[in-house]
Symmetry: D3
Subunit: 266 residues, 6 copies
């Protein structure tokens, strides 16, 4: 049995938009806790919002590691904080939706398109797609022409836009697989898949499944983040000497957590 | 519970070299059967050997699908028959070591090196690495300077060569992760990992874990090979009209199977 | 004088569609024989069909080498069996339409488009274009929206589609050269060229001319496939020990040949 | 006359190591102020340290914009916070050493090598080099084999290592230009240049000159960061609604500044 | 104070089209002289025209160096003669519009489109864009559908076409920055910028500003073209021995100059 | 029967170094004339030398076209004047060694190395290799460490250096094919090939064979340089109006020719 923490890296209310079944995607023997923040932004469309949030993400991952979680999932398609968290973590596995969805899509078709909300998001996401190695497989980005907070305002309209964007991606751009490029897309993939006839990847679920896989291979085969090179962890004495944990709120991170009730998956 | 078939796509004896614990890598609820062939080549270092073997691989995958297997793993780092099998399969998941190992390595470090037997193998494998999207992350290929059939002749010597090649990859080429580029490498990764201090991926195990993951996401989320585009399956009437199954031995494929006893994993 | 064998790697009838003048493209001093198969598929749109056919292709090339042919041309734009044949051959030159057409197109314009039958074909062909090094020069793929067997059903309609696709490639996609991405395209390039005003490469002819060139440079300058590295030929004792020639029908390949009459070219 | 702010994005003492003449590199009509932080890390070798620091960088840039500065230079070769700052800024120009040095090196030779402290730094910097478009021109990274804080411990030794690394880059790797990949390299380029005979770019100076250039073209030609697409600025009402400035210390950023005395350049 | 020479590498009349304010873009302390040729072509749309002109360009640069100019700007977006001039020059800085504009655009947005006159120009310019490293950032080329000599025939029509092309580049192709890919575009960028709302780079101005920057860094930091590798200057004795200066008109180059009056910039 | 003109684009003496059998490489039915220049440089190691020579090359090609030659070969591995000549030519085929050798090498192995004289040459040649599409196949450049004029001073020493460089390319860099990157390499390939056991391409011969092929496909299939796009020929009236032929010596080009006696090939 593994324990996973799904981080919605935004300020959330009681009925956080992310509590839409991602935890049901876990393997039956695993448990998923859901955490959001009591401060910050309600979406992450801007890089500034990312920058403000990343320290809390990394500290949340570190606290999760301290609490014995096996994995943490950073629930935003910008994959913000992923590299920083893997650098700091020594035990806990960390994943994020873009990387996970692309690694999955790579086995399901020769090309994929990513459906996002607004054009604004594309440059950073495209840079990530190239960095992850899938630039040649990217058929296109397609936009819904609205922002994160609009995804669930009128779900019938959102679904209509998703299906239209997906159809154009398949027919005009040559996509064989569709990736939903925002964790706010939760709840739409199945209907799209039925209508479009190609796999439609919910990237939040992809990240969760990827996390479970990384935990399993860590525990059974000892495969975890390489600590030689880019993911080398900083020395503890520096962190202590510069008082980083106190100065940047690492010690009080749980005060800024807003947990949803743990759910027994499966 | 899922049933997986691990295919050693070579002519094997009673004590087939591939029966070295890959089945133990499965999730506890899954079972893995092992099958090799009674004809063909004992290794696949040459593209001609691949060409002779691919039809039997595809027919084995199709027969496995007919028998209700959930996944088939093609046990050779050339990933031969992978695309053909995915094209033909409509239910069964199919994986192969190179793709699976690289998709895994991608989350564990920023660069990787692949250790192979002989220089001869590199061009095709390198083309695969680039095709899969990981050309920019490839630190190097390193060779053991002997062939597949030599891997288990003197295992102490093989281990020595593996560790030397791995050390050069890490120190001289900048590798953060090591991938063992041959399924004959079974049994060596753990010791290497202990000595070298970076993750060392046994690609046969990676392919098995990837297969389990693909089965799970197929069953739970409906995500399976896209049938629009490159993996479109040929029409049944053509296969029948041209008598392909009989002509190319698809119907008699089990006669050319050599099964090892199924093993309850875990 | 050189002898070339043009292989139509499909099951052909008495009036095989490939017998459409490719042999007339040879240099006057050379002879071209045409061979198809008595079994197999009538087209090669699917990778499974390719896999079934490649062993017969390689064995045909080897038999041609034994019979003293100077070159073999594999008549399918997927270039199936090309690498395997070059690996096995020690004397005979081997070419295939995609590689040959692109190497030719490279000197005739800065960009090219490839006109194929169906979208299904594109991913593998695109991978080949990238592998051959011409990804940056590829303006587009354009489809006729029908399969190989439809090319000669209504030739006026096919020509109309070819010209429309070519025009879009030139005007919308920026193509300077058109490549016909199927050997079933035989007979159309000249009319297209007259109408479109750019070079239109019949890839089957390109492969034949390339073969003649490779023969000439082999005979005069000793330039032939490098046997150090990826094209190293397997050792004869393995082939004998594993009884590969008998097991896979190499010895009986001529029984599956269907020859068209040799034609004195020129 | 333009006013520039050079940000040493680290915790600095009275005699901050960055106060080594970068301000003297300005055009005579411009003034450069130097600011560091009273909290944070003393170097930025780790991505975690970057993550902690980026919010203070962005807020410093915004405060500089409010105070009428024309440009801000982010003094670290990781270019941390550059994209975020450009997204937020509407008037002030922002530069950072890696981008600036490469844009400069591009006109001075066909290839360049970057000399860094430790291997740890390379993956992120290499990703930046590729992202900026200069992957094909990168001859190599070379390391000094020590960290940022060691650069000025024994300057004779550092210079020796710099010259040795530079020589290997030129002779073994084919570099035509050397880029010093750390702002702690201040003070070494001239001696290296004299010894090695190729341009040696001090990237901190490059960033300052680039900043002056961006200010000039902004003022005279109206050329500044595009606000359509990736650098779109978030709406003010969101920042206010979520109380971001107070919550993340934007309003108190000057409390965490440590200024060096402004210097009249030239 | 620096002296720059702006070379309009075409046959010009008294009212040369290039005399449209580029000299006003200089820093106030610098002077810009403008020179064109009394022979040659009136535009450079064809590579043959480039070939004829390059020797005069290089000799002009060398003569400018002899006369004490600090920089020379080659005023054509093909950047013809840039590499040759840098190879020959030992003191004078040399720039050209395409390189300069792209180096500038790189800091202003994540993508750019280039607006040119005719399709004919695109292949060479595209090759340059890739060579300079910005292939991944190139959103598109857009054409005005007329030649260099038409730019100023009906400026209202030209402006209309520029704005239409720019709008398509921004909306359909995803451009964040517009680059005007011909020095005949002088005079249009400001109006376009106002209408389109993104930076519109006049590449002739970009080249001038880049030249000033290169002069400044040469004089202050000693950074100038590397002479190890691709820009190595030929030995003087060869030039003398083969009588190249006389044979190719280097000594009489000023006879073929047509100067516009020097203008005090600023 | 076709007539080819091999252009040694250098000032040559009576016993021009290029007269070393390239004409013997022609098909027996073809004739090859050899022409060099009475002015210019004796080698082309510098881009300036190229620039001076290109107009004479293009005019030579045009004169050859006028005289009824079928093809012109530009005998320098920089491929100088190739694009310009193809732009101007409407009938005559034009080739050059680098393009031709790489197009040939592409069919003979998966990787190649180029052996050049000096490091100086590499950046431009490497840019060409990438432009031609073979960057991924380039194993390395290796240098002989001397210039063009040294190739035939001590041929035993040159051969020794060639073999040493070739061996390192094969063993250390993974080359499967060797390309001799200078037409001064004439006479060495056969011995190298015997010793090294891989194909060694004499690029001058490759260019000649390529030219013959282009002539044949032009005459028989109408395939010649596309005139839509990058190779569009300038309008005759411009050339006349600006008096280009007289001004740049096109009309007197034969006065600067130095012909070697025509040789009946074969």
């Amino acid at each position: 049995m593994s324990r996973l923490l799904y981080i919605a890296p935004v300020r959330i209310g009681e009925d956080g938009a992310f509590e839409r079944g991602v935890e049901e995607a876990a393997r039956p023997e695993n448990t998923v806790d859901l955490v959001g923040f009591t401060r910050g932004t309600e979406h992450l469309e801007y890089h500034y919002y990312e920058a403000l949030t990343i320290p809390d993400i990394v500290h949340t991952v570190l606290e999760a590691e301290r609490q014995g979680y096996d994995a943490a999932v950073i629930g935003c398609f910008y994959d913000l904080g992923l590299h920083e968290s893997r650098e700091m973590a020594t035990q806990i596995a960390v994943t994020a939706p873009c990387e996970s969805a692309l690694l999955l899509a790579a086995s399901l078709g020769s090309t994929f398109s990513i459906i996002v909300g607004r054009r604004k998001w594309i440059p950073q996401m495209k840079a990530n797609v190239h960095h992850y190695g899938f630039g040649d497989r990217l058929a296109s980005f397609r936009t819904l022409e609205f922002g994160v907070l609009d995804y669930h305002k009128d779900e019938a309209e959102t679904e209509r836009r998703f299906i239209e964007a997906g159809r154009k991606a398949i027919e005009d751009d040559g996509a064989e697989v569709i990736v939903l490029g925002c964790t706010a897309s939760a709840g739409f993939y199945q209907q799209m898949q039925d209508v479009l006839g190609v796999p439609v990847i919910d990237s939040a679920i992809a990240a969760l499944k990827h996390a479970e896989q990384l935990v399993e291979i860590r525990d059974r085969f000892g495969w975890k983040t390489s600590k030689i090179g880019g993911y080398e962890t900083p020395p503890a004495y520096e962190i202590e000497q510069w008082n980083l944990r106190e100065e940047y709120g690492a010690d009080t991170i749980t005060n800024r957590w807003r947990m949803a009730s743990p759910v027994q998956a499966g």
